[in-house]
Symmetry: D2
C-alpha cells in the first residue's frame, strides 16, 4: 500500500526518520492562489515542538520548515508543495543501547520482523517526530479553509477528566496553559498530576477533544469513505492513539433511540447534536466533535525488561529524554489531521 | 472520492439501495484457486439477516447471493467476482410517508442536501441493507485466510455490559443465543432488556467486541495506513457506529506507562497485551482485539417530530419494521469488515 | 492493483467472463440528477455488438443492460450505478477444444501461468466481450457531458488508409456504412478488403481515429496524470490495441520545432493544432484528436499450431465465430473510454 | 487527482519547479535491504543532464541528489525514501521575457488558465527538469530488479531512422556516441543532422526505442491496468511525448492475423514476438519492446509570434539555452519510467 500518503485530491505524502538528515513531505493538490501565512505555519510547528514547558520533554527540535516548491511570490501555484524539516541533532550514540534491543510497547520488534532491520536511532520512522510533517500539511490545509474553525484541547490526563461540554468552554484559553486544557482549574490539576508523574520517571496518557465549526452540509462519501470514518482513520494513524469516538460516542451505545435522536429545527439544524455533526457519513452543518484517546508514552525513566535480538530478556532504563505526558503536544497534530481530512473532502465535494 | 470501494489489492466495491432492483458488489483481487464453500457464505448472510429471532426486526430479506463471475468450477479464478443480491420486496408505497420528510437522526436530510434528491424508499443507499454486500465480501475473505480466526460478539447492550476479558469467554457460545453474547447469563439479561425496549417501541445501542487470532507479524503500513487505522476506518464505515477502540482503548488513556507497557517473553510474545496485537501500526503476532460502539437505531415506534422539505416540523411515527437492537446483527458485519481489512493487508504484505 | 477499476472520481469497475452468468459493472461517482436516455445507451450497446453486418462476426450477443441501482425515477441519484448484462449463451461445449490448448497470440497461456488455471470458455475474462461494460459506463459519461462531442471512426483497415484530415470529414457519415469510415469511397474499398480477408478465413487490423470537441481549457493533472497519458492508458487497455498517438503523433517526431509549434491567435486558440488540443498534459480548448492501432484478431479460420498444457505443439483450427476485422466494432469502445476519461477529469477539475 | 504520484506499491511522488529551491521526490514502498549503489544513481543522473555534449543544451544542471530518509547504513529500510536535487541556478531575470507571454506550444497558457497564475521561470513545473526526480526513482527501481535488463536507445532523429531490429543491435554501443544510437553509422548521420538543426536555431524530434529483457511471466493487471497500458501511460507522461507503440505497434494494424500470430515453441516461448512480450496485458516472458515518439522541443532560437496575457501577438526569440534535440537525453528517462512501472508490478504480483 506504501502507506505514507493520505488523501485523494489534497494528498499528503511524508518521509523521514527521527535521526535522519531531514523529515519532510509533499502536499499535492493544494489549490492555487492561496496567500500563505508562514508565521501561522511556524506557530503550529512550535505548538507541536518538544521543550515548550516544564511538563514536556526538553529535547530540542528546532523544526524550521523549508519550502522548496509549489509557492511563488508567497502564493500557492497549484503544483506540489515540497518541504523539508532538517534534523539538526543527528548524533546517534545515545541510541546505541536500543540497537539490538526491543523496548517494550515500542515498534522496534515489529519493524525488525517486518523489514529485516531498522534505523534504530530514536525510533526511526516510528518516532512521533514524523508528525512534524503532518503539522505543516495541516497548517496549509487550515489556510485553505479559513472559514472553518478547528479547536482541539486536552480533555483528560490520566484519571483527571474535564467533563464540561465543549459549548461551555472558552477555546481562547486553550493556549493559556501548558496542558492545553481550556478550563483553568482542570488544567492546574492536570499539570500538577503530570509533574508528579514526571518525578516518578513515569508517563501518563490522556484524551484530546476536537471541535470543528462552520462545516458546510455535504462533506463525506458513503458508504466506505464516510466523513467520520476518514476522521477516525486519520486520528488513529497518529502515534499512540488507541481510540476514537465522535458525537455521542461510546456513551451513545448506552442510550435509547428516543433519547439519542436529534430533533430538527425548521432550518435543518438540530436541537441536540448527539450525531456529532454527521449523519450517514455526511456533514449536516452542525458542529463536528470527537475524542481521541492516547496511551501513555512507552519510554519511561524506570528500569523495565526489554528483549534483545538474540532472545534474551535484559533490563533497560530509558535515557535522556522524558515526555511524561505527550497529550498537550498532540493537540496541534489532531487539528492538523482534521484539517487535512476536511481539505480533501472539500476538494472532492467541490464546495471549495 | 467515489466512496464505494474499500481496499487496494483485495478491493471491494458495492452498490445498491434498500428498495432497488438488487444490491451487489465486485470483489477485485481475490487470489485464484480458492475452493469456495458457498454454504459458509450463506451462513454469514443468514447471521446478518433480519427476522432471525423475536428480538430483531421481522422484515423479510431472503438475501440469496448470485455469483456472476470470477468463479469457475467452484474455484476463484483471480478475476473479479461480481455478485448480486436481488431485492424481492421492492414495493415502495409503505415508505411514502418519508418521501418529503426528514426523519430525525437519519441521513434523509443530508442526502437531499448533497445530491438534490434521493431514493427515499427505505433509506435508499443509506440503509443498513447495504451491509449485505460487505458480508459476502467478508465471507470470501475469511475463506482466503482460513488460518486466521475472527470472532465478534456483543459485549454490551444499552447499560448492560459484559466485562469478562475475552480470554475467559467461550466463543463457541456466541451463536447459542439471539443476542450473540458468549456469556449466557449476560445474554439472558441483555435479551430481557431488549424485549422491554421493544415493548416501549424504542431502540437501544450496544457494543460489539472482536478478537482476531493467528495473525502473523508484519501486517500494516505506517505511517497513515496503520493496521488499526484501517480497522478503525472499516468499522466506522458501518452504519450506526460511533466509536472504535483497540487494545487498552480509552481506558488506556488513564494508565501510566509503567502499567501499560507489555513486557516481552523471550520468543517475542508479550506477557500482557494492552497493545491489542499491534505496535506502531503493525501486527505483532499477539491477539488483535477491539470494540465498536453502535448508537440506537433511529427508527422508533413512537411519535417524534420530523422536518419536511418545506421547513415544517411534523410529527411522525415509525411504521412497520422495528429493530429494537441492531447490535446482534452487526456481529457478522464487524467480522466481515475485519476479514476484508486483513485480506487486503495480506496481499499487500505478501504473507499470503 | 486489482486492475478492474478505472478512474478516481468517475470510477468504473467491471466484472465478467465471456461465458459466465453475466458481465457488469459499477459506476461510482456519477453526479446526481442526470436524466438518463436509456435508448441512447442501447444504441451504443448495439454499435459494439457482434453480428451487425456481413463483415463482422455473426455471434449473437443481445447485450441487454439491466440497471440495478443508482437511478431513481429515471435520474441518477449520485449513488453507485450497478448494472449487469446477462450472458444468454453460456454453453461451453464449443470451447472444449481450447480447454487444454493455448491459442497463439491469445491470453490463454499467460492466464494459466499467472493464475494457475482459467475459465477457458471463449477467452474468459480476456475476451473482448468485457468491453460491453465499458460501453455502458461510457454511454452514461457521454450523457454527463452533453456539450462535448466525441466522434471516433475507422481511418485504416490493413493497408488501406484514409489520410483526409478530420476537419474535412463529415462525421454524420460514420454510421452510414458497416466499416464506420466517414469517407464513403474509402469505406467501400475497406469493406471490399474485409470481405476478401473473410473469405481467406483470415483477419486484419486497423486504426481508429477519435476527435473530441468542445473540451474546456484545464483538464489534466500533470506531471503523471496528464490528459493524454490517461487517454493513452485508457485506449491501450482495450483488447488488441498496440499503439496510441495524439496530435502530430509519430509523424511529429520527424518535424522541426519551427514547423511543429502552434502559433496563437489573440483569443488563445491556435492557428494550427499539431499539439492535438493538449499542452503540458492539460487541455487547451482546441480539438483533441488521437489514433489507436488495433492488431488483427488472433482467432483465424485457418489451421495454426497451438501449444497444449503438456508442452505439445498441436495444429488447431478456429471454430464457429469469425470476426475478420474487429476495428469497426472498436469505434464505440474508443468513444466510451474517451468519455470515461473526460468525465473523471471533469469531476476532478471541477468544471462540471 | 493530484497527479504527481505514480504507482501503487512502488509509489513515486515528485515535486519541484525548474527555478525553485529544489526538485525532489518520495519513493514509498521500496523493499528493505537493498544495498544501494549511489554511483550508479549518479550515472543515470548524468545521462539525463544537459550539457553532456556539443549537440545538447549547454545549460548547467549539477543534479546532485541528496537522500534524506529511508536509507540506513547504505541499505533501504522499507520506509519512504525522500530526496532532493537543489537548483543551483535560481536567478530568474533571464526568464522575465516570458513572464507575461505565452510561448507557442509551451504549457504557459494552459497553466495560467488552469491555475490563475504560474511560476513562469523556466517553465516552472512544466519544465522537463522535473524528470530528474523520475530518474532517481528509476535508478533505485533498477537496483531493486537487478535481473531485469532495460535498454533504451535513439532509433530516429527527425527523418533519419534506424530500422535494424533490436535483436541485431549491440546495446553496449548505446553510450558510445552522444546520440545514444547503438548503430554507429546511423549515429553519425543523426549527429550531423542535429548539428545542422542547431545551426538553424531550430529543434527536431525523434523516437526512443526500449527493450526490456528477463521479465518473468505474469506481470500486469487486466482489464484496465494491463502492463502495456501502464507502460504507455508512464511514457506519455514524459515531456514532449506524442505517441507510444509496443510490439508490432502501428505497423501491426496493417497485418493479417495469419502473419501476426506468434506461434509457440514447446517451452511456452514464441517463434516470433510481434506481441512484444505481452499478451492480454500480462507479460509472457518474451522480450518487451516499445517505441516512444518525441516532438521537437518548442523553444527555438528563431523569432516566432507569441501571445501576451492581454491578447496581443508579439514576436519573441528564444534566449540562451538551446536544446536542438532532446531525444538522446530522454533515453535515461524512458528507462527510468519503465523501471518504475516494472517495480510496481513486481510488488503487486509478488514475484519479487
Amino acid at each position: 500500500m506504501a502507506g505514507n500518503s493520505y488523501g485523494t485530491l489534497y494528498k499528503v505524502t511524508t518521509f523521514g526518520e527521527s535521526h535522519g538528515e531531514a523529515l519532510g513531505g509533499i502536499i499535492d493538490g493544494c489549490p492555487s492562489g492561496i496567500q500563505l501565512d508562514f508565521e501561522a505555519i511556524e506557530v503550529e510547528m512550535s505548538r507541536r515542538k518538544p521543550g515548550q514547558s516544564a511538563i514536556v520533554t526538553q529535547r530540542k527540535e528546532p523544526d524550521a520548515v523549508q519550502f522548496l516548491s509549489g509557492i511563488f511570490e508567497g502564493k500557492t501555484t497549484g503544483t506540489p508543495i515540497g518541504f523539508i524539516i532538517p534534523n539538526t541533532n543527528q548524533k546517534s550514540d545515545d541510541y546505541s543501547h536500543i540497537k539490538d534491543n526491543y523496548r517494550p510497547s515500542h515498534a522496534d520488534y515489529v519493524y525488525d520482523q517486518k523489514y529485516g532491520f531498522r534505523d534504530y536511532r530514536g525510533g526511526g520512522r516510528s518516532s512521533a517526530r514524523e508528525t512534524a510533517s503532518r503539522v505543516v500539511a495541516g497548517a496549509i490545509a487550515k489556510q485553505m479553509l479559513p472559514q472553518i474553525k478547528i479547536n482541539a484541547y486536552v480533555s483528560s490526563v490520566g484519571p483527571i477528566h474535564l467533563d464540561t461540554p465543549y459549548q461551555e468552554l472558552d477555546f481562547s484559553k486553550i493556549e493559556s496553559n501548558p496542558v492545553r486544557c481550556p478550563d483553568e482549574k482542570s488544567a492546574a490539576v492536570m499539570e500538577e498530576y503530570i509533574r508528579d508523574i514526571r518525578k516518578q520517571g513515569d508517563t501518563v496518557g490522556g484524551v484530546v477533544s476536537c471541535v470543528i465549526q462552520n462545516v458546510p452540509v455535504g462533506l463525506g462519501e458513503p458508504v466506505f469513505d464516510k466523513l467520520h470514518a476518514e476522521l477516525g482513520k486519520a486520528m488513529l494513524s497518529i502515534n499512540a492513539v488507541k481510540g476514537f469516538e465522535y458525537g455521542s460516542g461510546f456513551s451513545g451505545s448506552e442510550m435509547k433511540g428516543s433519547e439519542h435522536n436529534d430533533l430538527y429545527n425548521p432550518d435543518g439544524t438540530t436541537k441536540t447534536n448527539l450525531s456529532g455533526g454527521i449523519q450517514g457519513g455526511i456533514s449536516n452543518g452542525m458542529d463536528i466533535y470527537f475524542r481521541v484517546a492516547f496511551k501513555p508514552v512507552a519510554t519511561i525513566m524506570q528500569t523495565q525488561d526489554s528483549l534483545d535480538n538474540k532472545g534474551n530478556i535484559t533490563p533497560m532504563t530509558g535515557k535522556g529524554r522524558h515526555d511524561p505526558c505527550v497529550v498537550p503536544r498532540a493537540v496541534p497534530i489532531v487539528e492538523a489531521m482534521a484539517a487535512i481530512v476536511l481539505a480533501d473532502f472539500y476538494l472532492i465535494n467541490k464546495t471549495y
